[in-house]
């Protein structure tokens, strides 16, 4: 149990996707101007990563991994080079599905973060989560925890950045730093803060 807990902490803080792995930075910087949108984006990432990483794990293990076709008498087949194409397809389909379910059953929730969902079909953090899962050979429970933890880490980071940028909206910055420049420097400072989590584990 504590293994899973420390895996969650590790994927949310120590290996925070945008701040230490540089994944998902495009949306991280583009949609962090207001806390409201940042919260919506964060929730959407948690939901999509929580669904797609375990789903990709199942597909990887039972269809693509070397030896997965042994039951059919084809033990030498190794489809793992197809994982990139498969993961992208699965993520795009899952995003579409989550979107439809939300639209049907929870219209209020859909209105809050529905627009971000379609953006997430090609999002490096989500694809990165699935690729890390495949590279490190996690099992089903571990990949679910990895997905949820990674999504939570992304959400925390993007909400923090948006809060700081909100404060800085009234600051008198040098012209060249306006907008993108200061966002990078702030991200660097957040990342410096998050690097202090590096040695953290659950007791």
């Amino acid at each position: 149990m504590s293994d899973l807990g420390s895996l969650f902490i590790r994927s949310a803080f120590v290996e925070n996707l945008p701040l230490t792995q540089f994944l998902g930075l495009c949306t991280f910087l583009a949609l962090s101007r207001r806390p409201g949108t940042a919260i919506g984006l964060g929730l959407a990432v948690i939901a999509v990563m929580g669904v797609t990483v375990p789903l990709n794990h199942l597909i990887f293990q039972y269809v693509l991994a070397p030896g997965a076709w042994a039951w059919a008498g084809l033990p030498e087949i190794d489809l793992s080079y197809l994982r990139l194409l498969t993961f992208i397809g699965v993520i795009a389909a899952a995003v579409q599905l989550v979107e439809m379910i939300l639209d049907r059953s929870f219209p209020a929730l859909f209105a809050t973060f529905g627009v971000f969902l379609s953006l997430l079909a090609v999002h490096c953090a989500i694809l990165g989560g699935s690729l890390f899962m495949a590279e490190r050979n996690y099992n089903l429970v571990e990949s679910t925890v990895l997905g949820l933890g990674g999504g939570t880490g992304f959400a925390i980071a993007v909400v923090m950045l948006s809060a700081i940028r909100r404060r800085l909206a009234y600051a008198d910055l040098p012209d060249g730093l306006q907008g993108l420049g200061i966002a990078f420097i702030l991200t660097g400072m957040l990342s410096l803060g998050f690097s202090s989590f590096a040695q953290m584990t659950l007791p």
């Binding site: 495009c26 194409l85 992208i88 090609v122 690729l131 590279e135 040098p174 907008g179 420049g181």
Partner: protein, 217 residues
């Protein structure tokens, strides 16, 4: 002449990383050493040029409702080819780059250029535009990669430039340069530098400060 401007424009003036905010994800992760940065730039430029050429060739037969998925599949297939080539001939480098080569598939530079340029232009000019954007991306990667390797290890491409204390020299390597935050600071500084040199790129702030004597009432 027009081709020449298409090629040179994205290198500095319309740089994909510092102005269009595209493809930052991979730009930072692989730049701890110059060799990794150069490999990544080559892979991205190759994929970008090939994808632009293919998509621009079939652009008239592509229904707009499925164009995104077709583009993604073309790009992902090219990335798989590049990844397999790296694993076959440069195994150590492919281990170092880990998942980031695969992540070229979701790199916004590639989709951004194919979507906004290759779908509306002839193959030759699309490929030129792709090459220009690839070079602009490479320029940023190589600058950041060389600064980080030079100050983090005291070497460039593995050759010792600043003799470190360990080897009997005078240079104390800065471990911060190898960590994630330095990449953000360097890129932020680079954006600042480029925008100071080219004031046209400066973003207009949401709220402008008004000097006290001009405040009405």
């Amino acid at each position: 002449m027009k081709l020449w401007t298409t090629l040179t424009e994205p290198i500095l003036r319309q740089n994909p990383v510092t102005l269009q905010i595209l493809g930052i994800c991979s730009a930072l992760a692989v730049t701890t050493t110059l060799a990794a940065a150069i490999t990544m730039s080559l892979c991205l430029t190759a994929v970008l040029v090939a994808a632009s050429g293919i998509i621009s060739t079939i652009r008239k037969h592509l229904p707009s409702s499925i164009r995104l998925i077709v583009q993604i599949i073309i790009v992902a297939s090219l990335v798989i080819v590049v990844d397999q080539i790296l694993q076959a001939f440069f195994f150590e480098m492919s281990q170092r780059l880990s998942v980031y080569v695969s992540l070229i598939a979701t790199n916004c530079v590639v989709l951004g250029r194919t979507e906004s340029f290759a779908l509306h232009n002839k193959p030759l000019s699309s490929m030129t535009d792709a090459l220009g954007n690839g070079l602009g991306y490479s320029l940023i990667l190589i600058i950041i990669g060389s600064v980080r390797e030079l100050f983090g290890h005291g070497t460039l491409l593995g050759y010792s430039v600043l003799p470190t204390v360990e080897q009997g020299g005078w240079f104390e390597p800065l471990p911060l340069m190898l960590l994630a935050p330095s990449a953000f600071f360097l890129l932020g500084g680079l954006v600042w530098l480029i925008r100071s040199l080219m004031p046209k790129q400066v973003e207009t702030p949401e709220h402008k400060l008004v000097p006290a004597e001009e405040v009405p009432g």
